[in-house]
């Protein structure tokens, strides 16, 4: 009996620690993590019910760049169902209609991040899962990107999955997903030639993707076979309005656009098969095979009419008609062997195969001032075939020490063709290339005492023909981690680095990335928890550039980008007399760049070989900025089933060079959490 009492006491302590952990980790001020009502719930017939619903008012105020605030945070004003959860469980596991019902909601009402998840299941008969999400996305593309391409859209995602006989050796699965994006946008374009002026025009985005899937699982002795057949459909009916202004962004030319219409509907479908085979010939030997094939296809038409004057001042009207089809069949396969010859050894090998051939053709017609102009038949293809093999070994000779390593080899074949004005694609001569990569990793993990875990690994790799100047070529990576964890406190520290060098005779790309971080948490007693951490992420890349300036080609210039990102976070959670929960937290992120105080003052001018470009590009080598957000929250138990909550969060965004995007904002809320 005494043991049982101690066990329950221990459980309450653990529960308190878990609750505190959730609270400290809360990244946004609302919803309140503490819930109303008893966690044990109430019995109702053969069921047990737990629930908590938080309804409140959210408010905000912004000073500075509201577009940037909406892009980063986007909380508004109004009444919300800030959070809610409902759990109904059959107590004996044999409910009449269901054994488990779970419902969780967040931000329902008008928050920019709304979601709801629902599960209904009856043991051994069925299980249904629903995940619904809605995001109000605002992105003005901001000053650093030219201020164009604004988006104010709503994206809704929903996934439905139904499983019949989920605990049986034969299962049937049916699923449906929907992904829609609708809303307003501002786009840019240029007319009447590729040197024409740029205009901003309106877009009414209407995109929908749907996926239907059906599949089944069969288990026989130690073999399991899963087959899924699916169909994806996509449609884009985005409509485009006329530009906001008849004159373009370039005020020195004579380009105007007085009339404009564009329609470009797209329809696509991707049927696919997925087959997965799992076999355990023995308890220590497992074979997994996976094969997928899909046929992607998009049909498109494009109809555009534009009227105005070109950059030389001549009157122009132009109509563009285009139709065609893009295709992409993809086949992939993976075969994995896992062998455990003894409890100390784990050996695995995976062979991967990927083959994709993207091709398509389109007929492009252009009428200029009513006369037939350019007519093109276009064709392109891009074929990729990758074969990879990775062998892993892990050996644990003693409980406190283990070593592991792997070797990876992959070969990628790329075939590419791009043609304009061709009669027959078969007449084309494709370009082919083969890339090979070898890499190896070795590491050790230690547990000298039970609470302390240390791991270290290193990787080196070579790619004989990287596809891009910035791709991985000669690279090496280091990872190290130490963690000390006890019931009341934990500390951890880790280090990562990734260095890559990719060079040719004229140009060099090298990147150096390093990160240090440390984190600690302390729970001095039940109901009090502190958590704090610091991270430092360094990145510097150096890349050769070539471009045109004032109609002259500039060779041998270099892009040198430096980022030194420091982040700290801290939080404290206090539960007083089982009635009041208080939380205070703080996060600060600061990119110090290379330490300079003026934009056009490169700290290392030797990396800009062409001094004439210093004034042009030095300012983009760094982006010093700071972003901080303290928050405070209070939650008071008014009754067993009722809580009163309030919170405040502050945001401060400051750029060092330009002040155009800076803002400060306050968000807050007041709410009641109720459990019936």
């Amino acid at each position: 009996m005494n043991k049982a009492f101690n066990s329950m006491r221990h459980a309450r302590l653990v529960a308190a620690l878990v609750l505190a952990n959730q609270a400290v980790a809360q990244p946004t001020v609302a919803p309140t993590p503490e819930t109303a009502g008893s966690p044990r719930g109430d019995n109702w017939g053969e069921y047990n019910i737990t629930n908590s619903w938080e309804i409140g008012y959210r408010f905000h105020s912004v000073d500075g760049n509201t577009g940037k605030y909406r892009s980063d945070v986007n909380f508004g004003n109004g009444v919300r169902l800030l959070g809610g959860s409902l759990g109904v469980h059959s107590r004996n596991g044999r409910g009449k209609l269901f054994d488990e019902l779970l419902l969780d909601v967040q931000g329902i009402g008008n928050d920019p991040y709304q979601l709801s998840s629902f599960r209904l299941q009856k043991n051994s008969l069925y299980r249904y899962d629903l995940l619904w999400r809605s995001n109000e996305y605002f992105n003005p593309s901001l000053t650093v990107a030219g201020g164009n391409h604004l988006l104010a859209t709503n994206r809704q995602l929903q996934d439905h999955d139904f499983t019949l006989l989920p605990q049986s050796k034969a299962r049937l699965r049916i699923g449906f997903s929907n992904n829609g994006q609708n809303g307003a946008g501002l786009w840019t374009g240029q007319w009447f030639d590729t040197r024409g002026d740029e205009y901003t025009y309106l877009a009414d985005l209407r995109r929908t993707q749907r996926e239907y899937r059906i599949g089944g699982d069969l288990e026989w002795r130690r073999v399991k076979l899963s087959v899924t057949r699916g169909w994806e459909s996509f449609k884009d009916d985005t409509r485009f309005g006329r530009p906001l202004l008849a004159a373009g962004a370039n005020l020195v030319d004579r380009n105007t656009l007085t009339s404009f219409r564009r329609d470009e509907p797209v329809r696509g479908r991707t049927p696919y098969w997925r087959v997965h085979l799992h076999s355990e010939a023995a308890a220590s030997f497992t074979v997994q095979g996976r094969l997928t094939h899909s046929d992607g296809q998009r049909d498109f038409v494009f109809d555009e009419f534009a009227q105005g004057t070109d950059r030389l001042g001549s009157e122009r009207n132009r109509q563009v008609l285009l139709s065609g089809r893009g295709r992409r069949p993809v086949t992939t396969g993976h075969l994995t062997f896992s062998w455990r010859p003894s409890p100390q050894w784990t050996l695995t090998n995976q062979t991967g195969y990927y083959k994709s051939r993207m091709d398509g053709e389109g007929r492009y017609s252009e009428l200029n001032n009513g006369n037939t102009g350019l007519t093109l038949v276009s064709f392109q293809s891009l074929g990729i075939r990758t074969i990879s093999n990775t062998s892993d070994a892990s050996w644990q000779p003693q409980k406190w020490v283990g070593v592991f390593g792997n070797y990876h080899f992959s070969e990628r074949w790329i075939q590419s063709t791009e043609l304009l004005e061709v009669e027959l694609p078969s007449g084309s001569k494709p370009n082919e290339q083969v890339n090979r990569m070898h890499s190896g990793t070795g590491g050790v993990r230690l547990q000298p005492v039970k609470p302390l875990r240390i791991s270290f690994s290193a990787e080196a790799g070579r790619n004989d023909k990287p596809f891009y100047p910035t791709s991985d070529k000669d690279f090496h990576a280091l990872n190290a981690r130490a963690q000390y964890r006890l019931a009341k406190y934990n500390i951890s520290a880790d280090y990562r680095s990734f260095n890559n060098s990719n060079s040719t005779s004229l140009f060099v790309h090298s990147s150096v990335g390093r990160s240090w971080s440390a984190n600690g948490g302390w729970t001095p007693r039940a109901g009090v928890q502190l958590d704090a951490g610091y991270s430092y992420i360094h990145l510097d890349t150096l890349t050769g550039l070539a471009y045109f300036a004032n109609f002259a080609q500039v060779d041998g210039d270099r892009s040198y980008y430096v980022s030194n990102l420091h982040t700290i976070h801290a939080g404290i959670q206090v539960r007083a007399k089982k009635r009041v929960d208080i939380y205070g937290g703080f996060v600060r992120t600061q990119d110090r760049g290379d330490g300079r105080s003026v934009a056009n003052q490169p700290a290392r001018p030797e990396f800009l070989l062409n001094p004439a470009t210093v004034s042009q590009f030095a300012g983009v080598q760094v982006f010093p900025v700071s972003y901080q957000s303290p928050l405070f929250r209070l939650s008071v138990v008014l009754h067993r089933n009722l809580r009163w909550n309030a919170g405040w969060q502050y945001y401060d965004y400051t750029e060092k060079f330009l002040k155009l995007q800076d803002y400060t904002a306050h968000t807050g809320y007041v709410s009641l959490s109720y459990s019936f």
């Binding site: 696919y272 994995t336 993207m358």
Partner: protein, 316 residues
């Protein structure tokens, strides 16, 4: 409607019939091996666990018919309990997960959970190699949610070790993980992933794939999937990370650099044997004047940069 689609009703009926027939089979005989005490005995000393266990997904093993003793209830995971009862408790007389090495925990859980496709790579995953076992993230008896039995909110579980990722998500522009709208597992498979179909099949590790085994980004950003008549090869060959930092960035479009033209020019410099034609990635034309700020926002004109059906230079 293709022949495969027309055969769907038949497949459906066959599957229903087969599953019903299999379900009608008599339950397997209880494996009454000596040493098992039964879950009811455990309640005596562990009422806190037993009283709440009806909410736990593992409770099915206690209530469903046909589950053998070694897989049922408490002893399904903790092993035969008779010795533990006789000894009046103690970790040495039972399988205590807090005392098991990471490999032992993995072995214990995979006895039942090894067959799902998304755990096919768990033995070779980076987590297993670093001794991150199931109970490092999951709390069977004190979960934050009964849905996946995670010890805390998913992001917090991941941040617990990946401090640098927490810092990346603390930047101004990021995917909305901290806001609860997304989870890490929307893009990652913490149980280990197959070799990716991009970037030479090596990196990134532990990343899930979408419909056509592409980058997980395309699960949501469906308009970027194509196929397009003109593909931007960077997307297909080396993946979205060629240009984007998916966790967080100082650029509103999550670009790797704050200013767009540096991203473009670092590849489009015409050097070496890079690119799809093996003669260098195309340098910009002479009509571009980088001395004029107007030309430094590449995507103002190249608006279909992920792929276009109308223009090989992605202008429309």
């Amino acid at each position: 409607m293709g022949p495969a689609q027309s055969a769907l009703p038949l497949i459906f009926v066959l599957l229903i019939g087969l599953t019903t027939a299999l379900r009608a089979q008599p339950p397997a005989r209880s494996n009454s091996v000596n040493g098992f005490a039964g879950s009811n005995v455990c309640r005596t000393c562990h009422p806190n666990v037993a009283l709440q266990f009806f909410r736990n997904p593992h409770n099915k093993s206690s209530v469903l018919p046909g589950v053998s003793l070694e897989n049922a209830g408490c002893e399904g995971c903790h092993g035969p309990g008779k010795k533990h009862v006789d000894a009046k408790g103690g970790k040495e007389s039972i399988v205590a997960f807090s005392d098991l090495p990471a490999g032992g925990i993995l072995d214990a859980c995979l006895r039942c959970h090894s067959k799902d496709a998304n755990r096919a790579n768990i033995r070779r995953s980076s987590h297993s190699q670093a001794d991150v076992a199931c109970t490092s993230c999951h709390s069977i008896h004190q979960p934050e949610s009964n849905r996946s039995l995670l010890a805390k909110r998913q992001a917090e579980v991941c941040y617990g070790c990946h401090n640098d990722v927490r810092a990346q998500f603390a930047q101004t522009s990021k995917h909305r993980v901290n806001e609860g709208f997304m989870t890490c597992s929307d893009c990652h498979n913490p149980h280990g992933a197959n070799s990716p179909s991009w970037k030479m099949g090596r990196r990134p590790l532990m990343v899930d794939t979408s419909l056509q085994n592409e980058q997980p980004c395309l699960k949501c950003h469906t308009d970027k999937r194509g196929p397009f008549l003109y593909e931007h090869a960077a997307v297909r060959v080396d993946g979205c990370e060629s240009c984007h930092s998916p966790h967080g960035s100082m650029n509103a479009r999550l670009l790797k650099r704050p200013i767009v033209f540096t991203v473009c020019l670092e590849c489009h410099n015409g050097a070496g044997s890079f690119g799809r034609q093996s003669n260098g990635v195309t340098i910009q034309s002479a009509s571009h004047n980088m001395a004029d700020p107007r030309f430094r926002n590449c995507t103002t004109c190249h608006i279909r940069i992920h792929g276009s059906n109308a223009d090989r230079t992605f202008l429309r």
